[in-house]
């Protein structure tokens, strides 16, 4: 069997050598041997016959699509080894559109994209094109051979390729995305696009999840990357480091600037309400929920009394997320904060208190309602208005 460290090796940081990892080149024997070792029931004969014939560049796309369909994701890195071996000779013999007949023109366009709008339009066009299996095969090949170069050249067009590839879960896109996160000094649009798709491309049982966690954690506080990237990385933490993401979020809520704390509070809300793309392995545990709740209350104590308009959004997000975070033991404290926000109504914090109240009722039901009655005690008008609003939104 091939060693795990070879199979799990992420995309290299430079173009691989013609015969990576010391496998013998050419001939039918090594390919068949390699494949039968790992996937004996997979297309061995076909592979022998056609992948070697892939030097025939015209036929490449069609053949590749056959392999692409039959290769499982687990074997993808093995296929990359084969690609790495065959590609240099093939690439040398072909150029531009001839090499990527389906994608050539679009890749040409992408290479000169500058604005976000251009990139966004190109991503939509590419996504359409990738409905064809042949085009997918070409793109797998292209990413393996040109992705790194575009990354180094800081081309924003690479964001469109990442976007479209992630949308269709292109084989190998997780490995390439990790490569993007690991690269210093790249175009910010490419970096945020890679972060954006993490919840979709990194599964909790992926062997890469730990590596993603390391990179995401680094980006949460990387000053050179900027606040937008910090915030995007913070919002990914529950997906790639579910056991310790609460620590990152707590630190962001308590210590970071209003902007970052606002994003962290909304991420905590999403995680606690399980409204994102969370699998069961990423569920928020009770102790984590408790820590996040304490952090939100703590930040509200600092900034909750600051009436300035600049703190409105932060206050609203903190109040809102309390509804998803409070446990029964914290109900009194949380509901008294909600009641205060509801009565005070700075900015839209009263509306946030209503949305939080709906979450509380949904999660904790009777105890939450009892607590609300107690906290609104003596102000029947407020209680009935609050309850009316709770009902209206459900």
């Amino acid at each position: 069997m091939l060693r795990d460290d070879i199979l799990l090796k992420p995309a290299s940081t430079k173009k691989p050598a013609a015969r990576p990892y010391g496998f013998p080149s050419g001939g039918q024997g090594w390919v068949a041997g390699l494949m039968s070792n790992v996937a004996p029931d997979l297309f061995v004969d076909d592979l022998e016959t056609h992948i070697i014939r892939s030097y025939d560049k015209v036929a490449w796309g069609e053949h590749w699509s056959t392999y692409y369909k039959s290769v499982s994701k687990a074997n993808w890195l093995l296929v990359q080894l084969i690609v790495d071996d065959l590609a240099p000779r093939w690439v040398e013999e072909t150029t531009g559109r001839e090499r990527f007949p389906r994608l050539g023109a679009l890749l040409q366009l992408l290479s000169t994209c500058e604005s976000n709008a251009e990139v966004s339009n190109a991503a939509a066009e590419l996504w359409q094109l990738l409905q064809e299996d042949v085009a997918r095969g070409e793109l797998i090949f292209w990413i393996r051979w040109n992705g790194r170069t575009w990354l180094d050249e800081k081309r924003p067009g690479l964001a469109a390729i990442l976007e479209a590839s992630a949308r269709i879960s292109l084989i190998g896109i997780d490995v390439f995305s990790l490569d993007v996160l690991r690269t210093a000094d790249i175009h910010p649009l490419v970096l945020t696009t890679a972060l954006k798709w993490i919840p979709f491309i990194v599964k909790s049982d992926s062997p890469l999840v730990h590596d993603f966690g390391v990179e995401v954690l680094r980006l949460t506080s990387c000053q050179e990357a900027g606040i937008e990237v910090n915030a995007a990385a913070i919002s990914c933490t529950p997906y790639v480091m579910p056991r310790s993401a609460d620590e990152v979020l707590v630190a962001a809520i308590v210590e970071r600037s209003s902007d970052i704390a606002y994003s962290a509070a909304l991420t905590a809300l999403e995680w606690a309400a399980q409204s994102g793309s969370f699998s069961s392995a990423m569920e928020l545990q009770n102790d984590q929920r408790e820590r996040l709740c304490v952090a939100a209350l703590q930040r509200l104590r600092y900034d909750g009394e600051d009436e300035s308009e600049t703190k409105d959004s932060l206050r609203e997000a903190l109040v809102w997320c309390l509804g998803a975070l409070a446990s029964v033991s914290r109900l009194d404290e949380v509901v008294s904060v909600l009641a205060k926000s509801f009565r005070r109504g700075w900015g839209a914090e009263d509306a946030a208190a209503v949305r939080a109240g709906r979450l509380l009722i949904k999660r904790l039901n009777e105890p939450a309602f009892e607590c609300m009655r107690k906290m609104f005690c003596g102000t029947e008008g407020d209680l009935s208005r609050y309850v009316k609003l709770l009902i209206k939104g459900t």
Binding site: N116, S120, T192, A232, S313, W320, G347, A348, L389
Partner: protein, 204 residues
Amino acid sequence: MLHQIHRGENCENIRPGDVVFSYKPAVRAWPLHAGIYAGREKPVRPGRGNLEVVGVPDPLSERQNFLGCSNWTATTEYVPSIIGRRVEDADPIQVKEVKIVATAMIRMHRAIGTSCEWKRTRIVSATRYVLDGIGLFEQGTCTHFVEYCYENAGLDLVDQDYTRDPDEPHRIYPATQIHVFLRGSYPLRCQWDSRLRYYPDCLF
């Protein structure tokens, strides 16, 4: 309730969540644009002051064709011309929910690295839920975004199952939303009338 600021009317108290329309008849292709007011309560006088508005697109912000928040004044590309306030049937706090959904949507897009672009067709994600469980608004027009925020606050403006342009069934015209605020009966459910496409024709 409708306040036509560009015709000299005052709005005594704009609230977060109210709809602000920009009207520039000289811009023939898109004379109207709509957004959600995201500032605090205050009076609005013709030709004075500025309003913080969330909308798509937001040409005054850094990313031009995308969802964003910026100040509209008498001299900016979008001007506060008409204000629509839902006062007849909704608690003011419920209207504020519109504002927190709108501003949080900008932040969610930034936080997850997505961009919400102006497009003719509306896409609300059926797989990506955000905040307390609402579908992510991925793309659409200015009025799609306004409608989406109001729907998520439980305050539907136009019932598109009943009221829609047969020629462009997925489109919501800003003029139709202006008509809703003028009539003060929500959500709008009536037979399609071609006057609902244009302002000031929609003032009936």
